[in-house]
């Protein structure tokens, strides 16, 4: 295991500019092993841009993203790694859960093949092992094993989202990025998914960066919270602290806009 003293991911002054327009600006934070970081903010505030740039998908215009690799220790994702290394990292140690499961799944191959894809990509060549592994994962995400050979198109939205999560976690990544994983699901399915996610995070010791606009999701899952507005981080801190005692006017607005039941 990693030493608890070392950060898993450290983000230093990351800015992403789309030409003149600002995606996100001067964002810095450290993520520690086993930690869940929530990023909240309104639509267009740069949450997804930030997520893409720290998950090796978009090179930031300035700043650095350093990841603690298993073999070589701390390495900058963009300047100290070449593209093959980065792509290998993305399909082994990192995982990315899309908001829309259709973006993250291969819709024209079976659930089993979806779960097995990452294993085959890192060289697993034994059909029986891949299939066993896929069956175990279906169990973990509470999908019946006899759906293993069904296409994801025959799954409900919630099942597709769970399948996407299984497909990502099969290589035992250490860091998972999630972009609104509960978006577009009805409330009861959301609750179940969150329950599952919380269990997986705890059991596998995952570190997670989760982008959401749903403060309830953030409160339930994340240890720490960052609030973004106009590409800037306006407030960050422990989740309860930020949600119970917001300091920045925008955070206050965000918290007060939740319907009280």
């Amino acid at each position: 295991m990693l030493s608890q003293k070392e950060t898993l991911l450290s983000v230093n002054n990351v800015s992403v500019l789309y030409g003149e327009r600002v995606g996100c600006q001067n964002v810095s934070f450290d993520l520690w092993p086993g930690e869940v970081l929530g990023i909240v903010g309104e639509s267009g505030s740069g949450k997804s841009t930030l997520l893409n740039s720290i998950s090796a998908r978009i090179q930031p215009t300035s700043g650095s993203v350093t990841y603690n690799t298993r073999v070589d220790g701390q390495r900058d994702l963009y300047t100290e790694m070449n593209e093959p290394e980065r792509r290998l990292l993305m399909r082994t140690d990192l995982a990315y859960v899309h908001q829309n499961p259709r973006d993250g799944l291969r819709m024209n191959v079976s659930a089993g093949a979806n779960i097995g894809e990452r294993l085959m990509a890192i060289g697993e060549r034994h059909y029986g092992n891949i299939r066993n592994n896929a069956e175990q994962w279906l169990d973990k995400i509470e999908i019946d094993q006899n759906r293993l050979d069904d296409l994801p198109t025959t799954f409900s939205g919630g099942m597709q989202q769970r399948l996407q999560i299984a497909r990502n976690l099969v290589t035992r990544p250490r860091l998972v990025f999630m972009d609104e994983p509960t978006g577009g699901l009805d409330v009861s399915v959301q609750a179940r998914l969150l329950d599952l996610l919380r269990g997986l995070v705890r059991d596998l010791g995952l570190s997670v960066v989760i982008v959401t606009h749903d403060l309830a999701v953030a409160r339930l899952l994340s240890h720490r919270l960052m609030v973004m507005q106009n590409g800037q981080v306006v407030e960050s801190g422990l989740t309860d602290q930020v949600l119970d005692d917001p300091q920045h006017p925008y955070s206050q607005l965000l918290v007060s806009s939740i319907l009280q039941t």
């Binding site: 079976s110 990452r118 085959m120 990509a121």
Partner: protein
């Protein structure tokens, strides 16, 4: 007659102009230098529709010389439309000698088969390829598949085989079976049956693949290792038939099924027509041309 044909009707030898041939040859040289790598080339319009072998014809036109002997097969057969018309095309535009005998030919253009007779050093096998990209049906983005080839990310190919086994219980891909070339590039061997895949491995002849619509050329130099992809617990195997060839009794050739009537009768015959005829001339017979005992008596 051949000299007169050089400029007949304003056509150059073998239809294509010399500049085009040089361009194609450069692509072929690059393809031979990097076995299995798809080299783009500026494919020309040919006087035939795409899908009828425009890629193969361009490759053949670029490499053919006056002394070459050409054989053209389609599904193993010398006498189907595609084979006959391409053979005529080169007989007319290049005035080369044509043949149906595999061992006499110096260039063999083929659609969907490799001849049963083992090819020799000095021979060239030209394949007509419809879709050169083995990853196409799993990853439609060309930019992405090129990157995957460059970085040797071939896990996706096994996803397809996995899907086959989960649906059919065995690897149900029977043609265009993906193969790893020289331990580096994964290649689509054109729609030849997987029966022919082992023949490509360490073949003494040069193999060239031309895709006209997609404008790609790739190649296997002589004696190149070609390994068909598989799983450890589902190894690659080739098709087998319950019966032998009904005309020549061959046990180890690729057989076509021919429906004889609407009562469910059928027979299996060699797909390689020249191979079958050669065997029949040598005195081999199968179930269909053995004279039954009672007809002999009546005769």
């Amino acid at each position: 007659m051949s000299a007169a044909l050089d400029q007949q009707d304003g056509y150059n030898f073998a239809y294509l102009d010399e500049q085009t041939k040089r361009m194609i040859r450069r692509s072929i040289l690059k393809a031979v230098a990097i076995p299995g790598y798809q080299v783009p080339f500026a494919g020309r319009e040919m006087p035939m529709p795409y899908g009828w072998g425009t890629g193969g014809v361009q490759v053949t036109a670029a490499i053919i010389g006056k002394d070459d002997v050409l054989k053209v097969i389609d599904q193993g057969s010398d006498d189907t439309t595609n084979a006959v018309s391409i053979r005529k095309f080169f007989a007319k535009t290049a005035a080369v000698e044509t043949t149906e005998a595999t061992e006499e030919a110096s260039i063999i253009q083929t659609r969907h088969r490799i001849p049963e007779t083992a090819l020799q050093e000095g021979q060239i096998l030209v394949y007509q390829v419809p879709i050169p990209e083995p990853l196409r049906f799993l990853e439609p983005r060309e930019t992405e598949t090129r990157k995957m080839h460059a970085l040797q990310e071939y896990g996706l190919m096994h996803v397809k085989l996995y899907e086959d086994i989960s649906r059919h219980g065995h690897i149900a891909t029977t043609y265009a079976y993906p193969a790893l070339v020289n331990g580096r590039y994964v290649m689509d061997p054109s729609p030849i049956p997987k029966f022919d895949n082992p023949k490509m491995d360490m073949m003494p002849a040069l193999q060239l693949f031309g895709a006209g619509r997609e404008k790609r050329i790739y190649a296997l130099p002589p004696y190149t290792e070609v390994k068909s992809l598989d799983f450890e617990d589902h190894p690659f195997d080739i098709q087998e038939w319950d019966s032998d060839c009904a005309l020549c009794g061959a046990k180890d050739s690729f057989l076509d099924e021919i429906v004889l009537d609407d009562a469910g009768n059928r027979m299996f015959v060699c797909s390689d027509s020249h191979f079958c005829q050669q065997r029949q001339q040598a005195g081999f017979t199968g179930t269909a041309n053995e004279l039954p005992a009672d007809t002999k008596e009546r005769a």
